[in-house]
Point group: C3
Chain length 337, copies 3
């Protein structure tokens, strides 16, 4: 069943050279300097959570490469899936995720999975159980379309966007990854993945967040290791001025606190003092004409001001567009001859 299988789970499974090569291919596809074909290949996309960009860009990526794609919404159009192992299925779940994985693997040459953290129990969530089941049982390459831990396709498109602005060599580029306010405790996959990606590329990372918003140590430690290898630097601070000063890139994202995990009400109370964590003109002025980045969707007025996201410094739509090109490159990396 194993055909020298290449999954795409996290950017930290790849070297800077491998990621650079994937982005090169993406760039050539974007500028129509190359054409690739996945004719005769089948991709299945399974969404356990909503999606606009990921769904659209993956469907189009596969179609435009000449392949076949089927999109499934778990629990909506299809059956409600059980993720616990070894239990008696006498509840409301109709199908075990393990069986769905084995079946979809029979139909497809690769399977894309979106499965967010459930937000109740971090020890369970951080095992990325859905992705894990597909890797173990699908028998075909698995593409992570955002799990509890990682959103590698977003990070790849983000690096591509930064390179379009600042050139291929990003070593030492001062980049601010900043927490931002929100009404809900959002998943950490995006900050995890952009932190890892910037570390791989040796950037001068300022990771700015209020107390209690550190990422999981497994991510932070891995980023530190990668940063040492690449000759980069990671500074963690809760001082906004320090974190934004002189930056070339402001990458904003809200996420939930691990200390309040599963305690939404408590976290909302704590956040009442964090409403100033919005990326606005004042903060952008501290930077060295930084570009503004965000993975979208974004809450305007909470995470970022209209003035910033609608300015010429905003590269959020380039990031979204680059998803299409980067994912074509990922698909070809995995399924191409």
């Amino acid at each position: 069943m194993n055909r020298g299988m290449k999954h795409f789970i996290t950017v930290s499974d790849y070297s800077i050279e491998q990621l650079d090569r994937m982005i090169d291919v993406a760039g050539k596809l974007k500028s129509k300097k190359t054409e690739l074909s996945l004719k005769g290949k089948t991709l299945i996309l399974l969404f356990l959570n909503p999606s606009l960009r990921t769904r659209t860009s993956f469907e189009l990526a596969m179609k435009q490469l000449g392949g076949w794609v089927v999109t499934l919404n778990a629990g909506g159009d299809t059956w409600k899936l059980e993720t616990e192992e070894g239990m008696v299925m006498d509840g409301t779940s109709v199908e075990h995720i393990k069986d769905a994985a084995k079946v979809l693997g029979r139909y497809a040459d690769a399977v894309g999975i979106r499965a967010f953290a459930k937000g109740e129990n971090w020890e369970k969530d951080k095992k990325d159980p859905v992705i894990d089941v597909f890797i173990r049982y699908a028998g075909v390459p698995v593409i992570n379309m955002e799990s509890s831990l990682y959103h590698p396709n977003q990070a790849l498109a983000d690096i591509m966007t930064i390179q379009e602005k600042y050139g291929k060599d990003l070593k030492g580029l001062p980049v601010t990854i900043t927490w931002a306010n929100h009404v809900n405790p959002l998943p950490m996959a995006v900050p995890n993945s952009i932190l890892l990606a910037c570390s791989i590329f040796g950037m001068d990372i300022r990771f700015v967040c209020p107390a209690k918003y550190d990422l999981d140590t497994c991510i932070v430690d891995r980023a530190q290791d990668l940063s040492v290898i690449s000759g980069g630097k990671i500074t963690v601070t809760d001082n906004i001025s320090e974190g934004f000063k002189g930056s070339k890139v402001v990458y904003a994202k809200s996420w939930g606190s691990l200390q309040f995990y599963g305690k939404k009400k408590e976290e909302q109370k704590y956040r009442k003092n964090l409403v100033h964590w919005i990326v606005d003109d004042g903060k952008m002025k501290l930077t060295d004409n930084a570009i503004f980045m965000h993975c979208l969707p974004v809450r305007r007025g909470l995470v970022v001001s209209d003035s910033v996201i609608d300015s010429s410094s905003s590269f959020v739509y380039d990031e979204a567009e680059n998803r299409l090109h980067a994912q074509k490159s990922v698909l070809y990396h995995i399924l191409g001859v």
Copy 2:
């Protein structure tokens, strides 16, 4: 970004000659006398409301023309969209429609949008805020798949259907557009668009509705102007016998009253006296062997009797089929070389 962009928002943006040309192409596609290709083009369809015919016929139109198409259900498979401008997004909406527009415009060569009136505030609804945002921000041609104000693809297929029965020159053709009973206050896009289309084609229009069911003056005034230009005629009446007498076409549709807008309960009470506004055999006998038309979906037993819709005078399925051919023509008009 602007590439001599052609949107398709309302039939009243087009001359009779332009519409005739589009219908000619549609007819040739239907009779397989011509083949057109949109190979390499991408269409995204975004539905903020349900659809059977529009979804199926647009998907098939694009696929059969050789293009790529992705269909999205806002708020279901994708994120809940915010339509208000300049607000703090601290409610339940996850993404601003403006950002969705800009992103989808990066992926597609054209975007089709369905966004019904919300039915609370007519002054807001009549600005067609969703369509308006896409026109301003998507950067690609926008196709109206039914907005608060217009349903141009329906009207185009309707005119095509009438021409198939009565020939190309519809000037002076007596046509009855009649209000019909229903349990809910439905949107006005369909009556607006068929009134405008019949006006452009110079028909002898009898617009029949009970008191309090006039369309918005912006529509009625525009229709009057178009009717003058085309040498047509518009008679508005609440007298059913007068409205149906001698007609060649009965176009039935229910819609909500502007006077009861947002006041569903009050309107339902008022409608208790309007249950005789059903198109039945008695009313059809007043006509000159009129064909029966309706855009579907239709409430049988409320809007029309089974006997009329299931008779040989019923052209409702031809209208539905012609959606496919007319929309291919529209897509080619917009995206073809």
Copy 3:
């Protein structure tokens, strides 16, 4: 409109020779010994109920054959459908199924329908009203993707799977079709269809179920007739040991009792004594190294133990995979030249 129309409603409409031929084609497609094309053909799939395998395998079957396919979810993305005839539609249903059938028939060369039993009134359900409406009104071939009575595409893939294991001639092969426990009263389409299919192929059928779980007499009588023709045998028993002894195939499925139809609470009480109706290692040991089969989705721990479904005797994923190949053959049978 009738073009020598071939529907695919139940395997019992076909002879053993016809079914064998369809499976032969499916096998050749699976082993890539033949290529077939439905280029230029359009298939519409309408789901009134959820689906994973059926949706994925039908979409892929049509796409991989080069045809066009559109998938619709009734009541979700599209309008809520009314199935009663001749009524005043003043409730919550927006479109009559009859009108949907006529419209979809205008767009498609064939229509696939999934419409489960509603579970309230068996006399109504057993008429298969939705499938019946499509046959009468769609004007194009109708493919049953599971109705109240039948799931023919499942049965075809199941026979293909049994033949892959035991060869083409299945006459006299001892096969156990066994009821299994579940929290809900499930539809009977699958047991109906596998019973009919095994009868057509002349197998030695042991139909094992507890009291009150007999299938409808219209199915049992038909199966008896087919079994006589094919030289097969049907033994009905509630004795598990007797039913499993010496079998080569164990086909498990839960379904609801006709005697408790529409009385879910009462049935759940009755089932408290049926929890031992799970296919586990003990029961499998009674057989002659039988393969385990189930259509999926399956409730692990209720219908079957993990140990059985995860063993090398489990052929459930082959059944699922064969859906793809068998359905390509069905589609080509119906739409090919």
